[in-house]
Symmetry: C2
Subunit: 144 residues, 2 copies
DNA sequence: TTATGTGCAAAATCTTTGCACATTA
DNA sequence: TAATGTGCAAAGATTTTGCACATAA
């Protein structure tokens, strides 16, 4: 019945979490697209698949997937949380258009070149980072 | 009566905005501390000064100050907006502790060293950026 | 069977808005 | 006085939670 058991589903199972149809639907949406979604967008996409799901189920599953480092939460100016697949192979950040709100992935990252001496000095142990560039995308650029 | 008219207040005046007591209280809080505040924290601090203020007034003023680039909005994982004085002299970013939630300012910035060719390629015109390092602060570090 | 997950409804949080009244310039 | 700002109350939006029922393993 299930043609493709994804690595994510295997991971959940192996950690003792159940594979419900709702949970599978949420995971499918992330797997189908390398993009990021709000809880609302996930809700809508599940509906499109003519399946039903409850908002609390979505939030509870997003929380679980975040906790397991399968997805991560992006916090952008709008105040609405966006979630996207944790992509350990293609580390990236985002360009965010101040006009149209579009968020484009870019595979640039300043972290490795960063001088970490300040962190050591402060006794701060880094585990992750976020880098966002705000501005105007190709379509919204004023000098276009 | 007003002993120190700040540059911010001058700026507002010169742009045709009125200097109300509520607005002055909000600005004072930012001027008194190089730290960041939530709307709630600003509300509490104004109350401490035994002055009254309404939440909508706070939000409306924060919006205005953001628009005028006097303060800026920080978006962190919690989902609550934090605001801090725009500090053009001391550009900085934040270290955010995943345990206690503390946000520490650091004067490191990877932006200038960043190779911008990718942005040009994409036709993206950058205007600002955010860089946050998550991890564990000195007090919460596991290897302490 | 039993631990885990879901749906539902309600609440909690944070933020925004309309409108009448108040205040600054 | 005229434009701008505030308070109030209500609504919006997003997210969380308690509890009974449902389901995967």
């Amino acid at each position: 019945m299930v043609s493709k058991i994804s690595m994510i589903e295997d991971k959940l199972k192996s950690m003792g979490y159940k594979l419900t149809s709702q949970r599978r639907l949420v995971i499918e949406i992330f797997e189908e697209s390398p993009y990021h979604f709000t809880a609302q967008e996930i809700f809508d996409r599940v509906k499109e698949k003519s399946s039903n799901i409850n908002f609390s189920t979505i939030y509870r599953n997003l929380e679980l997937l975040c906790k397991l480092n399968i997805i991560c939460k992006l916090n952008i100016s709008s105040g609405i949380s966006h979630f996207e697949l944790m992509d350990t192979e293609h580390h990236h950040h985002h360009l965010i258009c101040l006009n149209c709100g579009d968020m484009e992935k870019v595979d640039i990252c300043p972290y490795n070149q960063l001088n970490k001496s300040k962190l050591e000095e402060l006794g701060f142990v880094p585990t992750e980072h976020k880098f966002e560039i705000y501005g105007y995308c190709k379509n919204c650029s004023p000098n276009k």
